[in-house]
C-alpha cells in the first residue's frame, strides 16, 4: 500500500464510492463532485492522515492527484538520498 492507495481510500470515503480508481492524472474534471469545497476537504483529510501540513501556498496549486502525491513526499520527514 503506497501513498496512492492511501489517497485513494480517502477519495473513496469522501465521495462514498468503494470502486473509485484514481491515478496521478485524476483531476477535478474526472469526478463530478470534486468542487472547491471537496478540494479543501481532501487537503485537510490528507493532512490528518499523513500528520503533515502542506505549505499554505501549495493549496491553490494542486491540479490533480499527482500534485498531492508530490506534496506528500515533500511533507514526509524521510526522503531517500540519491
Amino acid at each position: 500500500m503506497n501513498s496512492l492507495d492511501s489517497v485513494q481510500s480517502i477519495f473513496r470515503d469522501i465521495f462514498d464510492d468503494p470502486d473509485l480508481e484514481i491515478d496521478a492524472s485524476t483531476s477535478p474534471g474526472d469526478i463530478a463532485e470534486w468542487d472547491s469545497v471537496a478540494h479543501l476537504k481532501i487537503v485537510l483529510a490528507l493532512e490528518d492522515a499523513f500528520d503533515g501540513q502542506f505549505s499554505a501556498s501549495d493549496l491553490t496549486e494542486f491540479c490533480n492527484v499527482g500534485d498531492f502525491l508530490r506534496a506528500l513526499e515533500n511533507t514526509n520527514s524521510t526522503v531517500p538520498v540519491r
Partner: protein, 692 residues
Amino acid sequence: MASPEQLIISVLQRPTTTPRKTVELAMHLAVEARCERALEERLADHRGMIAAWARASLVERLDGDIVAEPFWERVVTDRGCEVPDALLKRARVAARTGRRDDAVALLTTALNCGVDYEFLTRAEALVWKCKPHLVTRGTVRIALVGSSTTALLRSVLQCLCLRDGLDPVFYEAPFGAYTQELIFDGAGLDAFAPDFTFILLNWRDLALPHICTAAMVDNEVARVLTLWQGALKKTKSRVIHASFVPPAEDPYYGLSSGRPEGRIASIHAVNASLRLEAPDRVSVLDCERMAEVHDASWEDPTQWSSAKLYPSTSALPTLAEQVLSVVRADRGFNRKLLLLDLDNTLWGGIIGEDGLGGIRLGPPSAQGERYQHLQSYLKALTTRGVLLAVVSKNNPDDAAEVFLRHSSTVLRLEDFVAFRANWTEKARNIQSLATDLRLGLDSFILLDDSPSERRAVRRELSDVLVPEISGEPSETVAWLERTLHLQTLRLTAEDTARTSSYAAANQAHILRLSSASMDDFLNELQMQIEYGDVTTETVGRVTQLINKTNQFNLTTVRYSEDDVREKMNPAEWFFRWYRVRDRYADHGLVAVLLARKGPDWDLTQWLMSCRVIGRNIEAFMLADLLCQAKRAGASSIRGQFVPTSKNHLVKDLLPRLGFVPDGLADGYVLDVQAAPIPACSFIAESHSCAAI
C-alpha cells in the same frame, strides 16, 4: 527472526496515535510485505479492538466489503461500545445492499457518538445519500452569515441536522459581506427567508486595539446590535450569534486581561453586554467556554491564513452541536427525560450482588466519587426541568434501598418521575412509561452501560436516543455536555431566581470568610459528623485508612483486615469510625480511633485522612472518647506519640487536647474524671450509629 506478521502484530500492540492510524500503518506494512492473508489468519487468535479493526480492514481489502461486514461487527471497545468508524463501514454496506433501515440506524448511532471532524468528512457523502430515509421532521432553513469560510461548517451542520431527522436547506452569504447581507435591502438573505440566521464573526471583526477605551467597546456592541436588528427586521428567523473568543496570542502577555481597557478584557466585556442586550429571538452561544473546554486549539493559524477557516476544523463539531441544540430547542425537538440504568451507570458494581456496602458510590473509591459527581450533575439537571426515570433490571427493594439508605447517594427516590426496577424487558418498561407520563418516545434518552440492552432498546424503540456510553461516569457527563440533547432556549424565571439566590449566598460567604476567624470558618463549613463502631460494613475502609494514613497518625501501627476484625469487640475495644460532610462535599469515612478498654484506657490508633485536617475534628473525637470512658468508669486514658518521618503534624496533639506527660518518652495521660468534655459547637450536626 520474527515473521513480518509477528512484527506487524507488535505494531498493533503498541498503538501510537489513534487506533485508526495504527491500523492504517499496519495495513501499509502488510501490503508492502505481501502478508495480508497470513496476518489476517494470525489475527484470528488475537483479542481487542485494534486487532479486530485490523482484521476487518484486511478482510475488506482481500475479499471485499460484503464479506468484511461481520468482521466490522466485532470491532467494539473493551467495554463493549460501538466504534464510529466500524459503524460507518457497516452502514456503507447496508446502504449499498438495499438495507436502508439498517444503514440509517447504524449512521445515527455513529453520529451520536460525539464524533470528530475527520469522521464527519468520511461520513458526509453517505449521510447525504441516505437523506430521504433520515428525514422525519421536515425542513429547516439555515442562513450562515459570517466573516470566514462557512462551507465546512455547512457540511458538518448538514450531517448533524440529518442525524436528528431535519432536512437542512442552507444559504451562505457571500464571503465577508455580512454587514451588507444583514443591514442593506435586496441582498440574498431576504429572498431565502431563513428559519435561523447564524452569525459567525470572530475577534478580528471587532475593531479593538490592544488598549481600548470604554467608548470603543460600546461602539462594537452597538455595531453587533445593529446587525441583529437587521436580521430580525429582514427575516422571521431566530438569530444565533457566536460570542467572541479572544485571540490565543497576546503581545501583552496576559496583562491585558487584568486591565479593563486591555483587549482581552474588552472582548469579554463586549460579550457580556451582548448577552444582556439580547432580545428573545436572539440566542448567544457561549463560545468562550467552548474554546476553554475544547481539547485542541479553537483556532488554527494555518487554516485561517490558507482557507479563512474559523474556528479550526477540530472545533467545528463542537460549534455545530451548539447551533443545532438551539435549532432543536426552538422546534421543540430536544429531549426531556433521561432513562437511567442503575448498576454500573449510577454507581459502580451490582447492588443485588455487592450489597449496600459493596457498591462504589462516593468516597473513598475514586470511581465512587465520580459516580457521586454524576448524580450531582443529574440532580442539577432536574432543577432546570429535565426529568429522570429509573429503568433497571433489579429487585425493586434492592434498587430503592440505595436511594433511601446509601450515605453517599445524591439522588433520592423523589428525584425520579418513575421507578421501574423489575425483571421485565426494558423496551416494554419504557413503552409503558411513555404512556403513563404522556410523553413521546422521541423525548427520551437511555443511559445504560450494557451493550445488549442498548442494542435491544435501539432495535425495539428507534425513537429513543441510546448513546454508546460505557457507564464510566465522566464519559456519561461528557456525552451529555457534548451533544446537548437536553438544551432549552433559556432558563425560566424560576431557574434564574434560584441561581441568583445561590449566587448571593455564595457572595456573602466569600465576604465573611475573607475577614473571619478560624471559628467563623469552621461554623461556615456546617460540618456534619456521623460516627459509629467499626463493623463488617466499614471494615474495608477502616483497614485502608489504617494502612495508608501517614500525616495525622499518632502511632502509625499498620493492621491487616484480620487484625481489624479481631478488635471489633466492644467489650474489649473502643473502636470508632467517623464520617464528615460539609456544605461543599461529602468527605466520606475519614477518621478512626481505637483504644483498649480497662481501668486505664490505652490509645492504640488515632488517625485522620488529610482531606479533613485542620478542622478540629480531633476535638469531636476526644469528646466521644471521653464520654465513653467516663461512662465506663475508667480513671485515665494513656496515649503515646510515635514519631515517624511524616507525622510531625500530631506531635503536640495530645498536650494540645489536655493530656499531660506521664514521664515516659512521648507518653501522655488524661485524667478521665477531671477532664472537661470539649465543646464542639462548630459541628452543625452529629449522628451516632454506634450500638451503645
